[in-house]
Amino acid sequence: MSNARTAPVRTALIHLALLSYTVIALFPVFLTVVNSFKSRAAIFREPMAVPSPATFSLIGYETVLKQGDFLGYFQNSMIVTIASIALVLLFGAMAAFALSEYRFRGNLLMGLYLALGIMIPIRLGTVAILQGMVATGLVNTRTALVLVYTAQGLPLAIFILSEFMRTVSDDLKNAGRIDGLSEYSIFFRLVLPLVRPAMATVAVFTMIPIWNDLWFPLILAPGEATKTVTLGAQMFIGQYVTNWNAVLAALSLAIMPVMILYVIFSRQLIRGITAGAVK
């Protein structure tokens, strides 16, 4: 290569740039988690230091667990997120299969109709969604949130999954048909296992906005029994603004589950993206 001599310098510069940005990206998270384990005095005296035996304190976590029903909030968030992801994946994959596999009248139109939701935020319909939920008595239930998030997640899921399902070989499906499999078995037993990486990508992209949403929990389910972690943390922090231990502990608690899920899914996510799911 002609630029063999300049290469090491260039590589070093690239590492420097990427490393600096990584620090910028992780620093605030690091700061929060580290300080949540320190006593109040230490938080202010040495905000950058890692907790030592002298400054270690769990007072913040104690306050959080005593004051707010965080376990309940977690449970709500988990139920809502998992139920929504499951419905988005199932319904989305079914619709994507219908759109990518069969030629029927209105196929293109249906595809465009279902893709509309990628461009238009569901929040613009909030006024009427709330009315509808009041009319059906679903306000302050987790069902309301699950329904809204399912509708919100479907358009992108269908879009990504149908792109993927087009790549599944026709010969395989036709072989299944000749062996007498019904269209349902072809979908559930042949196609679904083959698009698993795409499903993981969709799961992550669906999960992030649902877990982190503040708008709909605030409007549709603000009651104590149905509060999600995001809303719970928001309200808790609002009340305890000056109790820094508690605020930092609440923030750390809200970060943890997403990070764990990310670590589990990240390999699949990268594979799904780079395999061309989102282009």
Partner: protein, 316 residues
Amino acid sequence: MSAAETDDIDNVPVRRPARWHIAVFLAPAFLVYTAVMILPLIETLRLSFFNVVAGQMQFVGLSNFQTLFGDPRLSADFFNALWNNVIFFIIHMLVQNPIGVALAAMLSIPKLRFAAFYRSAIFVPTLLSFVIVGFIWKLILSPIWGIAPWLMDLVGMKWAFAPWLGKPETALITVSLISVWQYVGIPMMLIYAALLNIPDEVLEAAECDGITGWSQFWKIKLPLILPSIGIISVLTFVGNFNAFDLIYTVQGALGGPNGATDILGTLLYRTFFGFQNQMGDRSMGATIATVMFLIILAGVSLYLFVIQRRMRRYQF
């Protein structure tokens, strides 16, 4: 196998008389999507033509829109929010997307060590909720804790520190940059995928012609990833109208200080639900939502019909 036979096999399912399974596959998604998303959206658009007259809901034509644009206080609020939204969007386009492209370009260099680590780490902020992000940055930028001034002191810039979030001149830019920090992972990931999809032969051909490094990026890669950059611009544009949460957690529903960070999302929330001494107004909320809908529609159509058509696509 002859061509005729292949055709036959392909056409068998198409000619089947009633193919109920298609309906079964489509029905759940169609029903949930229509009932929870499309119908409320239509209902909201419809509501914007109605208002309470003498205690009853009545069709009032365009008078809600007249009030929104005519009433001095409301229209001032609205145009302030719209303008802030425009600035918010411009900052994202100028800062977030170029940084995202640059990071992706560096990450996609073949055989770069630790690339997976960098990629995962830079994506972390994107996973966090606005509530977390908003409060972390509020704490970091707070003069009480002193993290930001301390850091700036390290590089000899302490004089430049100010309570950015509290000053009307700088608050909007600061909030936009926080949002950029959070969302840079999305353009990075999408561009990264697009760059990996450029076939090696194209790059090898470029290298044979002596086009490497910097000029290879500008002359070969960038034109090839333009469609992805276009999609990212649309996502940025649409996401712009969703940016309620961050403002709400950092600056409150009023978009303080003094309305400096009030965007259409917070305005919609306040108008619809009421806030402090302001009464909630369903019709006005629907009117603002309708105007937002029209703006989004205009922006997306502009992209689809004007920009995307002129963009060259390359088939490999």
